[in-house]
């Protein structure tokens, strides 16, 4: 397939009349995948800044619940009058924080950036299958960002029924103010987001299947590409279900249907809804919601696979087992959604089934973690900032993943469901881990994106403060969860029983402020390096993958001449010649994918 497609792609590049792209063509309505990747990255980072700022306000409120801070008034306006945070805006903050971080930062910001950047570059393609669709995908995402942020300026406040927006709370403006116009905007934003995500995902799938260069078989693909490819498939399978749930919810809200609502008496009147079930909504939502965890996580794992192998100067251990794990995780992720609903009132028998499938996911996840560790073993670790974040990811992925064994067990879930135990679990396993993946990717591919290097010392400071802070926030948080402390509470002082947890909450908040502050090192480093960073060489990390065979300066079509052919997998690091006297290429511990098999080399049985 790929062989047939290639000559076509070769022909039209640089042959026909070329005109200089205008500013708008180059930076705004660009169809070049490298520019679109940068657009995704910068929008994603800005959204991340907003999302993290919201969590800081929440942590401030939770640490000192009965005190007033002028910052509330400045940032929240009439929801923070006299420096006292309004309970409704606390719920709004938690809702939009979740929505922004999960969808806008870790789905679009992570997958959008690196799928766009790396798929064509690593498989040896001139661009995405459809540059136009790719551009459309970004601009839909951008519109969606603007809408979700603008919902903060709605009079009754933005959506405030949790990021899962369970009806009836999300359907009835009488139940909470945010369920009025704010919720409508949320639904519109997410609908546009889903359209954007589908356009992007279809493009990624088609590109990986059809535009691989000669010799780039599926089993020679770098694990990054496998991860992006499978992520796109999960997205295509599950996002439409969320769209369906959103549309039905919209109809319940606006046209009086009763898909999710029944028997409701609110503010002194009985509503006419009859026969619907909120549990149906939960099923539909989590059919996306759980795969979404892996949509967030798999790209991060793919990125670290590549970075750990490169910086260990070793092949990734168990390449095929890694692919098998990705596929197993992808399949299992679509049959475990019920573990979010053990106590939702669904049939207890279903709880047993979902416990079984959920705990199965621990197996491929475990295989991945062990393979990473074995890759580190007897390596020659080049501790670049990207590598530090990748090692950090393995650590937080294990810590967060292990508590999943407790939450995935229907029995144990009963008492820790919706407590801070859950918050600690998913922040470590998907929040922090995926963010580490994002940072690792940025530090590693910054030279490819911007032609300059980021400052490594600022990178080190950024990593170590973040690593200490992230554990400082989320490890103790498990314990207040075990005390039965519920999530989404504006304050805990109504329960004297929780009084002795206040100190721990303050400790967590202090760690949170420090960690968030450390991100400023990154912001500075990122912006400064774009303009003043040291000029990058072509292959700074001595890496094997094809993106490092392109020139530093971005050109349309990626390679100035022919597209490189591929002769080997991407993990021939420190491979020795037959006589075991030197590396295959004397004095060079890596063999790029476009180097033919050498005479003195034993070929791997790929």
């Amino acid at each position: 397939m790929s062989v047939a497609a290639q000559p076509l792609a070769n022909d039209h590049v640089h042959e026909d009349g070329h005109h200089e792209p205008t500013f708008i063509e180059k930076y705004i309505f660009s169809t070049d995948h490298k520019m679109i990747a940068k657009q995704y990255l910068i929008s994603g980072l800005i959204m991340g800044f907003i999302g993290i700022a919201m969590s800081m306000l929440m942590r401030l409120q939770l640490a000192w619940p009965n005190e007033s801070f002028w910052i509330y008034e400045v940032l929240l306006g009439r929801f923070g009058e006299d420096g006292v945070m309004d309970p409704s805006i606390y719920l709004a903050l938690s809702t939009i924080h979740g929505t922004i971080m999960i969808f806008y930062v870790l789905t679009a910001g992570l997958s959008g950036t690196f799928s766009n950047l790396l798929i064509p570059l690593q498989i040896g393609a001139r661009d995405m299958a459809s540059g136009f669709m790719n551009m459309l995908s970004f601009w839909l995402f951008f519109v969606s960002c603007v809408i979700i942020v603008s919902s903060f300026f709605v009079e009754a406040g933005p959506a405030s029924s949790g990021w899962t927006v369970y009806p009836p709370l999300s359907a009835l403006p009488q139940a909470i103010g945010g369920s009025g116009l704010g919720m409508t905007l949320w639904l519109v934003a997410i609908t546009i987001f889903i359209a954007s995500s589908l356009l992007g995902s279809l493009n990624y799938i088609v590109t990986v299947l059809n535009l691989r260069t000669e010799g780039m078989t599926m089993t020679r693909l770098p694990l990054t590409i496998w991860a992006f490819f499978v992520t796109a498939i999960i997205g295509v399978v599950s996002f439409p279900v969320l769209l369906a749930a959103g549309l039905l919810l919209l109809m319940d809200r606006s046209f009086g249907t009763s898909f999710f609502l029944s028997d409701i008496y609110i503010q002194g009147e009985v509503l006419s809804y009859q026969g619907g079930s909120p549990v149906l909504y939960e099923h539909l939502f989590w059919f996306l919601g759980h795969p979404e965890v892996y949509i967030v996580l798999l790209p991060a794992l793919g990125i670290t696979s590549e970075i750990i192998a490169t910086n260990s100067r070793k092949p990734i251990f168990g390449y095929r087992a890694m692919i098998a794990s990705i596929l197993a995780i992808a399949f299992l992720s679509t049959v475990v959604w019920g573990h979010h609903m053990f106590v939702s009132g669904m049939n207890p028998f279903l709880g047993s089934v979902f416990t079984f499938t959920t705990l199965l996911i621990a197996i491929p996840s475990g295989v991945k973690a062990f393979n990473y560790i074995t890759t580190l073993w007897k390596g020659n670790l080049q501790l670049n900032p990207g590598m530090l974040f990748s090692i950090g990811l393995v650590s937080t992925f294990v810590t967060g993943g292990l508590t999943g064994i407790i939450l995935g067990d229907s029995t144990l879930d009963i008492n820790v469901h919706d407590t801070y135990f859950v918050i600690a679990h998913f922040h470590l396993v998907m929040g922090i881990s995926a963010l580490y993946g994002l940072f690792a990717g940025i530090y590693h591919w910054f030279p490819k994106m911007f032609g300059r290097m980021m400052n490594k010392n600022l990178g080190y400071v950024h990593f170590w403060i973040t690593a200490v802070g992230a554990y400082g926030i989320f490890f103790p948080m498990h314990f207040i969860g075990m005390a039965g402390l519920p999530r989404r509470y504006y304050k805990f002082t109504e329960f004297p029983y929780f009084d002795d947890l206040a100190d721990t909450n303050i400790l967590i908040s202090v760690f949170a402020f420090i960690t968030a502050g450390a991100q400023l090192f990154f912001v500075y480093n990122f912006i400064h390096s774009i303009f003043y960073g040291k000029k990058a060489e072509q292959n700074p990390w001595k890496s094997n993958t094809l993106e490092w065979t392109t020139p530093v300066k971005h050109i349309h079509g990626n390679w100035p001449g022919e597209i490189p052919k591929v002769y080997r997998w991407s993990y021939d690091y420190s491979k020795m010649n037959k006589e075991d006297t030197d590396y295959i290429i004397a004095g060079q511990d890596f063999v790029p994918q476009n180097v033919p098999i050498q005479e003195n080399e034993e070929e791997m049985n790929e």
Binding site: A175, P315, G351, G366, L376, W377, L381, I414, T419, P496
Partner: protein
């Protein structure tokens, strides 16, 4: 004024970061290479920091278990509390065992194999035996956990209703709870939100004879050692009835009835006098004594069981609670006899 302050703070912050970056630059020897790629020296330094970080991580874990594990809820309160706790601690022990080993390996390898000049990495791409081992060990352990968990799950969830079972309806609305007892006929009367009117706040069908002797209360009283079956009903949005002390939780869903059962085994009085609670309450009252926001009568806290809402339900979600009293059968009978029945309530009005 505040706007000016913000600008000044932002500017100062910017200058701070700028200066910090300068310090980094200045602290570099002039001849050092500025390729921004980790050098041999960086590898040495970062590898050692990994070792220091390991100490921090293990210190944090030890601190948390040492100081914070006392927050774990008291045991012995209901029939399945101890089963639950046992499964919890077995799982926790297992995951901490794995955690301690794996975290050590990750960080130790990061230190041990830090890059050195002239060091060769081992080309080691695959080993089926190793892959098999770390697939099969989790399979066996998880199979054991799953089977254990499923036995407990079916025991907890399949509540059999006997003659002795007390059936109580827990009714949720924004933002409070009500309890409804079935009265002498041991049958809850029919109810639907469409019947809500005036004092009939729970929407009981007034023409249903079973409803007449139903008793509606603001507090939940439960006789000790008697199985209770809760039927949950909501009038507006999703709520979740969370009984942390009894290891019980069930969502309350408008339009349907959900259920959950347990048998309380420790009375409120007993738990208050337990070693765990005496110390906990003493500690809390110590904290409350120094809290200036409290009235003097709020400062003396006495433990009561409670039920709380654990599914986001609106602005006052954080304060949707109901007091639970577990008492002897005799005390319970005395209490229930004093309560007004639904029939009496409607007749009054």
């Amino acid at each position: 004024m505040t706007a000016l302050l913000i600008i000044i703070v932002a500017a100062l912050l910017g200058i701070t970061i700028w200066q910090i970056s300068k310090i980094f630059k200045l602290s570099q020897p002039i001849e050092s290479d500025d390729s921004q790629i980790a050098t041999n020296k960086d590898n040495q330094k970062q590898g050692k920091i990994f070792l220091i970080f390991t100490v921090f991580l293990y210190g944090l874990m030890i601190y948390s278990f040492w100081n914070l594990s006392k927050f774990y809820l008291p045991g012995g309160t209901s029939t399945h509390t101890d089963d639950y706790d046992q499964l919890f601690f077995i799982s926790l022990g297992l995951i901490m065992f794995v955690q301690v080993i794996i975290q050590f390996l990750i960080h130790w390898f990061a230190y041990k194999y830090r890059g050195k000049e002239g060091q060769k990495a081992l080309f080691y791409a695959d080993n089926d035996k190793l892959e098999f081992i770390w697939t099969i060990i989790p399979v066996i352990t998880l199979a054991a956990l799953i089977i254990y968990g499923l036995f407990s799950w079916s025991e907890i969830m399949n509540v059999e209703e006997t003659d002795d079972t007390l059936v109580v309806e827990i009714y949720a609305y924004q933002f409070d709870w009500r309890a409804r007892y079935s009265g002498e006929d041991k049958t809850l009367g029919e109810a639907n939100v469409r019947f809500i009117e005036g004092v009939n706040q729970l929407g009981l069908n007034e023409s249903d004879p079973y409803a007449k002797d139903d008793i509606i209360t603001n507090e939940l009283h439960l006789p000790v050692d008697r199985p209770v079956l809760f039927k949950f009903r909501s009038q507006d949005v999703l709520h979740s009835a969370y009984f942390p002390f009894f290891r019980s939780q069930m969502n309350v869903v408008p339009g349907m009835t959900t259920q959950f059962g347990f048998t309380p085994t420790t009375t409120s009085k007993e738990i208050r006098n337990s070693e765990y609670m005496v110390e906990k309450v003493k500690n809390i009252n110590e904290i409350r004594k120094n809290n200036d926001n409290l009235d003097s009568d709020e400062k003396n806290y006495e433990f009561e069981y409670y039920l709380l809402c654990n599914k986001i339900c609106g602005v006052s979600h954080y304060n949707m609670q109901m007091k639970i009293v577990v008492e002897t059968e005799e005390e319970y009978q005395n209490w229930i006899a004093e309560q007004q029945t639904f029939g009496e309530l409607t007749a009054q009005n």
